[in-house]
């Protein structure tokens, strides 16, 4: 089921990671393919599920979101019901962008956006600490972030 990628596929994926709005003609020009050939490759990668969701790249500061915090959450009680209750409730909080179930020091890893630190404290105290089953949390405020192309470079 693994798709074999060649250098052209990798170049297409790298280009779409930067700009998903590229037309097949522009994409073809960059990687040295005709427009129909580029289109066929994008379709193949899309059908294979390699090209996943599209995300807007927004200027968080300009939109009033001054802080992003990574939160490790440890549950106090662990049963199937408590996991499901927690996941449902935490996913419903608009400021929580990512919820990952993890193994290790914490049970869940959350990515939270807020206007500023007082706003984050409000979200943490009123929305997150009051969730069913929450034990300890650890907050780390993001200072810098970069996304790498991954193993298609």
């Amino acid at each position: 089921m693994n798709l074999d990628l060649d250098d052209t596929d990798r170049a297409i994926l790298r280009a779409l990671q930067q700009d998903a709005t590229l037309k097949a003609s522009e994409l073809g020009q960059r990687v040295g393919l005709s427009q129909p050939a580029a289109w066929r490759r994008v379709r193949r990668l899309t059908e294979a599920g390699v090209i996943g969701q599209r995300r807007l790249d927004l200027d968080l500061e300009a939109l009033g979101f001054g802080v992003t915090v990574f939160l490790g959450v440890k549950l106090a009680t662990k049963g199937r019901v408590s996991l499901e209750d927690f996941e449902r409730a935490v996913s419903a909080i608009p400021e929580v962008q990512t919820v990952e179930h993890v193994l290790g020091l914490y049970d869940y890893r959350l990515r939270v956006v807020a206007r500023d630190l007082p706003d984050f404290e409000r979200v943490l105290r009123r929305r997150i600490m009051t969730l069913p089953g929450v034990g300890g949390v650890e907050a780390n405020v993001v200072l810098s972030e970069e996304r790498r192309p991954g193993p298609i470079g």
Partner: protein
């Protein structure tokens, strides 16, 4: 500055960036021409920087994802810069963050199998400069990952 209509437009667009402009205009309840104009202005202002495709690594056979939380040796003034520069050279690193908090940095690392992860960890991660401590969180399941903003 952005007004409520701009925010409403972005809110609908971020839910599905690939939707046709006509669908977006209808969802946001504004005329098509106004949609184009607002998006164009937000692009010019740099608020809307673009649109990225997210690669589904599992579809390429990368089934292991680990979040590494690192403490760096801060007695070395160039620790952050040198660590980040070296981490960029590891192809399996997909994200690099630095923090104010209990840990200094985080790397998201993907691998094909646990054995592959073990190789990357020993040969490429433990050899990165200025690491004082590492903790690993292994991803079991992604519950929510749209990364939209509460506009």
């Amino acid at each position: 500055m952005l007004n409520d209509s701009d925010r409403r437009l972005l809110r609908h667009l971020q839910d599905d960036p690939t939707q046709p402009m006509t669908a977006l205009a209808e969802a946001a309840g504004m005329p098509l021409a106004s949609c184009y104009k607002r998006l164009e202005r937000m692009r010019a202002q740099g608020v809307l920087k673009g649109q990225r495709a997210v690669i589904n690594w599992a579809a390429l056979g990368y089934s292991v994802e680990v979040s590494l939380r690192l403490t760096l040796d801060k007695t070395e003034p160039r620790a952050f810069d040198e660590f980040i520069a070296a981490a960029r050279e590891v192809p399996e690193v997909t994200e690099i963050q630095t923090f104010l908090g209990r840990v200094d940095a985080r790397l998201a690392v993907i691998a094909r199998t646990m054995a592959h992860y073990q190789d990357i960890y020993r040969d490429r991660i433990l050899t990165l400069p200025h690491i004082a401590d590492i903790e690993a969180l292994m991803q079991v399941a992604t519950i929510k990952d749209r990364q939209t903003l509460p506009l």
